[in-house]
Symmetry: D3
């Protein structure tokens, strides 16, 4: 199934640098122009999407999940 | 209260470009080196933090909120 | 940009039944075989995706966002 | 403590099909009329709720966590 | 439908102090022994649950949504 | 980097009582005046913040993540 577009505004295109695999969840570190973006997804999804270091991906996040800190 | 550090790995430093204010929630668009990062927070927090266009902020998000799409 | 696949396991395909538009966020009610699935996204995204009643969409959610209640 | 009702609109009633238990978090796969709904909760909660394959549960999610993709 | 128990570990029992109602989402401020806990839910849910100042409620949140800052 | 203030309204100050460390994520139990607040964060963050039992921390959560149940 091909998806035309998603609503999430915050999308960071990059390349997987490292995967730390746990029994249930895995950490995916993505190298992007914005620096490393870290995602935690199920290990099942890692396998179903056949993710591995070097895979081209988009890391994305809903706006309602983004917090703001003042400097 | 000064906070030394937070656990969230994904931090994007930038400047507020625009605020769309609603009665309960507001959209904050932050210009970062990674492009625009959009956050939705309560309008009360916008006022308490005295956020306005030009404010220097960090937009941040927990790793467990970040999804991955394969290209 | 066409996305091949996303990691989120919980995907509900359906048709938009109703949109309640607010100044910042909008509620999207999607008719699916599982019943109505309700999503809240930014009103900007509603416009950028040109969503309207009748649009075919997928409502999706990360596994880490799903809670369990015992009956 | 008995709860009368919760605010979350998206509730999927079903039966636990499988539990993948990790040291901190566990994946719960729930068979529902909408297909498999996957939840990740703490392993402590799995034990405290005495969840096991066959348990009748409701998987639920807040509307603000649901994203929309256009087909 | 009566729910016996939910998996979310972080539950704060209290009384609604104030509701700020928007067209799509509403802010609910709950007085608890831990201080004010603020929740944002859909205005539809506010109406369906017939929430109003003085209502006894539990504010709850998944562990995966809780962040940690070091002082 | 010192942060002056964050937008999240729900902040619970306390002391770490216990850490359950997994390969990817860890559970942090924080003793607060409101009782135990449980957080799940990446094990990497636990190490980078040098969290251990006895550390003084703030557990915090966005308002949009807080649900309401009626008693």
């Amino acid at each position: 199934m091909s998806i035309k577009s998603i609503n999430v505004r915050n999308q960071f295109r990059g390349t997987i640098k490292e995967i730390i695999e746990g029994p249930v969840l895995s950490e995916i570190d993505v190298s992007t122009p914005a620096g490393i973006v870290t995602s935690v997804i199920t290990t099942r999804s890692v396998k179903e999407l056949e993710l591995k270091p070097g895979s081209e991906v988009i890391a994305f996040v809903k706006s309602t999940e983004v917090s703001i800190a003042k400097l």
